[in-house]
């Protein structure tokens, strides 16, 4: 009896010890594998986000450079040219022997030229920073936008604002970003879509300020990557991120363009 107990105990102990060790080792190995998988996934997500951020930054810097180039060109072509003209005319007056009538004519010309220069500078600075927004508010800035488009002919922009009080109370930065976003959208429409009608409507939905932009132009294929980069959509996306807004786009070739922007602040 004693001997049977003895034999059983030893074997039992050794088997149990072996069993538990096997269990523990497999548990640890599985755990390690799980950890590594989790870490790899997290790393991938992180890398994807970083790449996206980098792209957005690139687009921002690119558009800054384009803007600077444009400003430089406008200043050079319009203001620089006119000032050079003015200089030459004054030179001529200085050199020639001129009578009273000629001086009066010349001064008239100079005044006109200077007025033109002032107007040019005003236009350039309006483009840089529309004063209507700071001075008169969001709605006025929108009207200025539609005036510029409608006066130039070609396309017709209609704006309906059902949420005037709320939109007037937007903080300056948000309002500015929205104006820029709309400017960008309009610019896209004019450049690429060849649309005749553009509609902007502003209303409240579920307590959030919503802007609906549509045009009846060519539309484009949403899933085509080339379209994303070329059309300043990344600039729009960056601006949306900054003001905490979300957006949805519906468009297809031949079916126009429609975008909803929802500003996610409780107003």
């Amino acid at each position: 009896m004693q001997e049977t107990i003895g034999e059983n105990i030893f074997l039992l102990i050794i088997m149990c010890t072996g069993g538990i060790s096997l269990l523990v080792i497999s548990f640890v190995l599985l755990f390690i594998r799980n950890q590594n998988k989790l870490l790899k996934n997290r790393q991938q997500v992180h890398d994807g986000e970083m790449a996206h951020q980098k792209e957005l930054m690139g687009a921002i810097i690119q558009s800054q450079e384009t803007e600077r180039k444009r400003i430089g060109q406008d200043l050079h072509d319009e203001v620089g040219g006119s000032l050079s003209n003015l200089r030459m005319l004054i030179n001529r007056l200085d050199n020639e022997e001129t009578g009273r009538q000629e001086i009066e004519n010349a001064v008239d010309n100079y005044k006109k030229l200077i007025d033109k220069i002032i107007q040019n500078v005003r236009n350039i600075s309006h483009n840089l920073s529309p004063p209507a927004l700071a001075l008169f508010g969001f709605t006025a800035a929108l009207e200025e936008l539609s005036d510029i488009i409608n006066d130039s002919g070609g396309s017709f922009l209609s704006i309906t604002n059902h949420a005037v009080t709320v939109s007037e109370q937007l903080p300056y930065n948000t309002a500015m970003s929205l104006i820029r976003i709309l400017q960008e959208l309009i610019s896209n429409t004019l450049k690429h879509a060849g649309a005749k009608q553009i509609g902007i409507s502003i209303f409240m939905e579920n307590g959030l300020l919503t802007i609906h932009y549509t045009d009846n132009g060519k539309g484009y294929d949403k899933d085509d990557i080339n379209n994303k980069r070329g059309m300043g959509m990344q600039n729009i996306e960056s601006r949306m991120n900054m003001i905490n807004a979300t957006y949805t786009v519906q468009t297809a070739p031949g079916q126009g363009f429609s975008m909803f922007v929802i500003i996610g602040q409780l107003l």
């Binding site: 004693q2 001997e3 107990i5 003895g6 034999e7 105990i9 030893f10 074997l11 039992l12 102990i13 050794i14 149990c16 010890t17 538990i20 060790s21 269990l23 523990v24 080792i25 640890v28 755990f31 390690i32 950890q35 590594n36 989790l38 870490l39 997290r42």
Partner: protein, 217 residues
């Protein structure tokens, strides 16, 4: 000429404790408080082994050393887990156990088991508690943001889990196998203690790897 088994269990494995101790001493600058506790635990282990061997040389019963060693081992390991575990409830439980378990051990060798026998009432309980703490730490590190193998505490944790889980049954039956031993089964008995020694060695090596991962991150 002492047998291979004797050399393995009584010489090689106890000296093996010097490997992690050495590596820890070398990395001494980068060791934080929790890892230092493991270092002290290893020193305790080495000291206890030396003491037990010396007593055995002089034919003095050395099992009382095991009883005292169990208490100190438990206090050190539970303090280690107190330092690395974050959950509030768990920490409260561990603190309670740090008081209750030594009392249980003392009561055990005063009234229940003779101090000259293996403490089979208390050592398995200690093993189970330590295993639970180890699993709690696994649960805690389940969602970490750094690579798993770079965290030295992970390695310590595995070593502890492996040793205590493997030796659980050996602890439980250690009295019985001694008293029921006949010449026939001596080989299996020796095998059993060899397995125990191997588990101890595995624990030392895992600790050594853990200490070696201690570079400045």
């Amino acid at each position: 000429m002492p047998s291979v088994n004797y050399i393995y269990t009584a010489v090689i494995v106890p000296t093996g404790v010097l490997i992690p101790i050495g590596i820890a001493a070398y990395q001494r600058k980068y060791i934080n408080k929790a890892l230092r506790i493991i270092w002290y635990y290893l020193l305790l282990d080495g000291a206890a082994n030396i003491l037990a061997s010396t007593l055995a040389e002089f034919n003095i019963h050395n099992l009382p050393v095991l009883h005292i060693y169990t208490i100190i081992e438990f206090l050190m390991l539970s303090y280690f887990y107190l330092l690395v575990l974050n959950d509030k409830t768990t920490r409260v439980i561990i603190k309670c156990l740090m008081v209750l378990f030594p009392v249980f051990c003392i009561v055990n060798f005063l009234f229940f088991q003779s101090i000259n026998h293996f403490n089979t009432n208390t050592r398995p309980v200690e093993a189970l508690i330590v295993m639970a703490c180890s699993l709690a730490y696994f649960a805690q590190t389940n969602d970490n943001s750094i690579k798993w193998s770079l965290n030295p505490v992970n390695w310590m944790n595995i070593g502890i889990l492996l040793y205590f889980s493997g030796a659980l049954f050996i602890f439980s039956f250690s009295n019985m196998v001694v008293s029921h031993m006949s010449k026939k089964y001596q080989a299996i008995n020796i095998l059993m203690w060899n397995i125990h020694a191997t588990l101890v060695l595995a624990m030392y090596l895992l600790f050594a790897v853990g200490f070696s991962k201690c570079r400045k991150r």
